[in-house]
């Protein structure tokens, strides 16, 4: 299974906020069992979508120098189910960004109504430790997610810092 739970970035403000959308499709694996006769999109996967949105935001803010790992869901609350056909909008804003880790606030909206929110804590693993401990596939930004970020960046080019000589 492809572990990508966001479809597209619709807004990306480096170091600050990222907004992505996820289209919930009845064809997706989880609906086979979650649940028979009551197919709802698992909240855990909405959290994963928020984590991927926030994780890319964090990673990009630090030029992907370290591996960003989802470490803790500090709090999460959902008020409504999400069902097939819904378009989920995930908004992640950085609460704190430090060398060792970061904290992100995420919200889930459907048709302008907030149906969930969470606070997510990420840890940063430096390249040395992470290389030996985990394989590449465990991390938030696989090549796929970076590709999505690339599309977002094309739509919202990052302004060059003043005085920068462009490498061209």
């Amino acid at each position: 299974m492809r572990w990508i739970w966001i479809d597209r970035f619709v807004d990306f403000r480096p170091g600050e906020k990222a907004v992505s959308v996820k289209n919930v499709s009845f064809a997706e694996e989880p609906f086979g069992e979650h649940f028979p006769d009551w197919p709802i999109f698992p909240a855990a996967l909405m959290l994963e979508g928020l984590a991927q949105t926030g994780g890319i935001l964090i990673g990009e803010a630090r030029d992907f120098k370290e591996k960003v790992v989802l470490a803790k869901i500090t709090s999460a609350a959902f008020t409504r189910e999400a069902v097939a056909g819904d378009v989920l909008t995930y908004t992640a804003t950085i609460i704190v960004l430090r060398d060792e880790g970061a904290s992100v606030r995420g919200t889930v909206e459907v048709r302008g109504e907030k149906i969930g929110e969470a606070e997510i804590f990420f840890a940063h693993l430096d390249a040395n430790r992470s290389g030996t401990m985990f394989g590449d596939h465990n991390f938030v930004f696989s090549g796929e997610l970076k590709y999505l970020l690339g599309l977002a960046r094309k739509a919202n080019p990052r302004p060059e810092p003043e005085g920068t000589i462009s490498a061209g």
Binding site: A71, K72, S75, A123
Partner: protein
């Protein structure tokens, strides 16, 4: 500053140059530390008591320690260098400081130096490596913050 802030004095201006800065009492600090732990660990208010141990009573894990440090820094506007509050491998497996799960007098001294905010009275009666975790109580964190704020003033 002509008088030393004590626990019973509130809202005491420390800077005579017109910059009124309230001194936090120990109770104020404790209240904020407790609220921070409630947020970080998802606790009920009544779970947090001064003697509550972070790991064994409040269910904190390694990742929570990092979260707690970040929050304390923001909440109290202090800087907490890595390992100052939660030292990792405090005795570093040094056989001079720990043997067969027990902490030697040299090890106890090392802990006293590295963790001046900890209350070692009970620990000293039976200094085991496992008991080191019990030193991290809400009270100890409150003392740590108080010490940081005192050196800042």
């Amino acid at each position: 500053m002509f008088c030393h802030p004590t626990d019973s004095i509130r809202a005491h201006p420390v800077d005579g140059g017109g910059n009124l800065e309230t001194v936090m009492t120990k109770d104020d600090i404790y209240a904020k530390v407790a609220a921070t732990l409630v947020d970080a660990l998802g606790l009920d208010d009544d779970q947090v008591t001064p003697g509550a141990r972070l790991r064994n009573d409040l269910g904190a894990e390694s990742i929570d320690f990092l979260d707690i440090v970040f929050r304390l820094e923001r909440e109290f506007n202090i800087k907490i260098p890595r390992e100052e509050l939660f030292p990792e491998a405090i005795l570093q497996g040094d056989p001079d400081m720990m043997q067969d799960g027990r902490v030697t007098p040299k090890g106890v001294e090392e802990i006293r130096v590295k963790m001046p905010f900890a209350d070692l009275t009970e620990f000293q009666k039976n200094p085991t490596v496992d008991a080191i975790n019990d030193l991290f109580t809400v009270e100890a964190i409150t003392r740590f913050v108080q010490m940081k704020l005192d050196t800042k003033a």
